[in-house]
């Protein structure tokens, strides 16, 4: 049986499958549920300085292939309230990875310090949230911003810091390289892909916010492309996200260069039971292909390191 345990920097995971941020992430009981179902770790909803209700409904649109478009608008209970949810999950043994979002380096650093105090094992920075609403740009699309934010956070916390990279960029690997320079222990890629849906009968965007983020099967090729390019550019571990629903998807990401994986939209199919199936399926597939561990398979599709 192939060894599924992986290390992402100093973060030890019992298996590479993490609950992605924003999925089952508002309540400690839900995080604990994903852990109990077999996730290797659980990432919290992205937490900000103040409670946010998020955008009004409709916040989600579904596609026939299982892909989703969402504009939740980063609802979260705020940094004052949220640590208690982390504690609920930790009390049930979960490896909890925090996620925060902010408008600038100072806010990220402040949030990081506060969330770190709740005992999270690592911290993911959501660098793909709307910076100035309506401008269509993101705080994480400029390498200089990314580097500055990561550096500011790394200065404040002792746990591994993971920079989550946007795919809405001509060169996501440059963003990952900036995160590495800033001291990130790892990068995760990708967050959702900018998208929109229109209801033609109603002549209006389906989502109340208009613009949304695409996730699920449709973006798997996009995520794989980002992970591939990032793996070629940085030395720190890469965490693959985007459209992972089967062990085969996971293996594509591992071969492209991912050391760990996040799973979001696939949870809609049959709940967190997906984590057990993914771990079992990946282990079986690694056995078939003759790999003794996930780590041994990371990046195997790259010619230079195959």
């Amino acid at each position: 049986m192939a060894d599924l345990a992986v290390r992402v920097g100093t973060l030890a995971l019992r298996n590479p499958f993490l609950l992605a941020s924003g999925i089952w992430g508002e309540s400690g009981e839900s995080l604990a549920g994903a852990w109990a179902a077999g996730a290797g770790g659980v990432i919290t909803k992205s937490i900000g300085s103040e409670p946010r209700k998020g955008y009004p409904n409709p916040t989600i649109e579904t596609y026939p292939d299982g892909s989703l478009l969402n504009a939740m608008g980063l609802p979260n209970p705020g940094i004052d309230e949220y640590p208690r949810e982390v504690e609920v999950a930790r009390a049930r043994g979960a490896t909890v990875i925090g996620s925060v979002f902010g408008a600038d380096a100072a806010e990220f650093a402040r949030l990081a310090t506060r969330l770190a105090a709740s005992g999270i094992a690592a911290l993911e920075l959501n660098l793909s949230c709307p910076h100035a609403e309506g401008y269509g740009t993101e705080v994480g699309s400029d390498p200089a911003d990314v580097e500055e934010i990561v550096r500011a956070v790394v200065r404040e916390v002792r746990i591994p810091v993971i920079a989550k990279i946007t795919p809405n960029s001509p060169d996501p690997a440059a963003l990952a390289a900036a995160a590495e320079r800033g001291g990130a222990a790892a990068v995760s890629a990708i967050n959702t892909v900018r998208g929109l849906a229109i209801d033609t009968s109603l002549r209006r965007p389906v989502l109340a916010h208009g613009m949304g983020g695409l996730s699920g099967p449709a973006i798997k090729p996009v995520g794989l492309a980002c992970v591939w390019q990032i793996y070629d550019r940085v030395a720190i571990p890469v965490i693959g996200v985007g459209g992972i629903a089967t062990a085969e998807d996971a293996l594509e990401y591992v071969f492209a260069g991912a050391r760990a994986l996040e799973v979001g939209t696939a949870v809609t199919q049959s709940g967190v039971a997906v984590f057990g199936r993914l771990a079992e399926g990946l282990s079986r597939r690694l056995d078939e292909l003759g790999y003794s561990s996930v780590a041994a398979a990371v990046g195997a599709a790259h010619p230079a390191r195959a």
Binding site: W24, S30, K45, P51, K53, T59, P77, L202
Partner: protein, 261 residues
């Protein structure tokens, strides 16, 4: 993947409640809900108050902004629909006590209707603020159910809470199951009372909903997600939860006590 339909019928059920009917083919079961989008306004979870055939319906009580706005919705208005979502009432019991408060009757009526048609003996304890607000009272009667009512102001039936009517019925008669929907504190009381007598209780609960796909966590209730694990729960799953009857979550995910709603 929404269906946009036109409202084909509008029925004022009580001074604060209106039913909208619309074509929405496909199967649906009593207990399930749809996400109904009032364009330009909110998208809300609403139980199907009519589940049979191609013409479905929802019954909306004026509560907050959107539910008040849509009281005025005319025939011909367009709404977006997705679903039905969620689980259903188990209709196998032969003697059922239905306990409804406020808009709770919206989801209980189609369940009772289908059960009654199958030969189930249906008894209804129906509560409202006042006589005119007793939702689906005649619908329950037409299906052959016995209806006992309670009103806050005593304008009809027992004055006070419907829970006391329910408790009286539970001690006086034998039931195989209780189905309840209404304020959570009401459901909790009913659950405790029936539980003490060994009668299984099924509660249809509400939580804030966004995705309705079991993803966003907005509707988390203990270890459950009301949108996919519910909305119908056996009471024994709910009673151990610290939140049941006490707190829910606002749209930001903060835990809010029920009084503070």
């Amino acid at each position: 993947m929404r269906t946009v339909v036109r409202v084909t019928e509008r029925v004022v059920e009580t001074p604060s409640t209106v039913t909208l009917r619309f074509p929405y083919p496909g199967p649906a079961a009593p207990g399930q809900f749809v996400m109904i989008w009032f364009p330009g306004d909110d998208e809300l979870p609403m139980s199907l108050s009519y589940t049979e055939g191609a013409s479905k319906g929802v019954t909306i009580k004026a509560m907050g902004t959107t539910s008040r706005n849509v009281q005025e919705l005319a025939v011909g208005a367009t709404v977006g629909l997705r679903g039905p979502y969620g689980n259903r009432f188990d209709l196998s019991a032969r003697r059922v006590l239905v306990v409804g408060g406020g808009s709770g009757a919206a989801v209980l009526a189609p369940a009772a209707e289908r059960a009654a048609a199958q030969g189930t003996r249906v008894t209804v304890a129906l509560g409202a603020t006042q006589s005119a607000e007793l939702l689906f009272r005649h619908r329950f009667e037409e299906m052959g159910a016995r209806v006992e009512v309670a009103t806050d102001d005593g304008s009809e039936g027992t004055k006070g809470f419907v829970t006391s009517v329910a408790e009286r019925l539970l001690t006086a008669e034998r039931f195989d199951a209780v189905w309840t929907c209404g304020p959570e504190i009401m459901m909790q009381k009913v659950a405790v009372a029936a539980g003490a007598l060994g009668v299984p209780v099924f509660c249809s609960v509400e939580r804030h909903m966004k995705c309705a796909l079991g993803l966003c966590d907005a509707c988390a209730l203990g270890p459950y997600h009301v949108c996919v694990d519910g909305p119908v729960f056996p009471a024994e799953r709910l009673l151990p939860l610290a939140e049941f009857g006490r707190s829910h979550r606002d749209p930001s995910g903060r835990r809010v006590p029920f009084g503070a709603r």
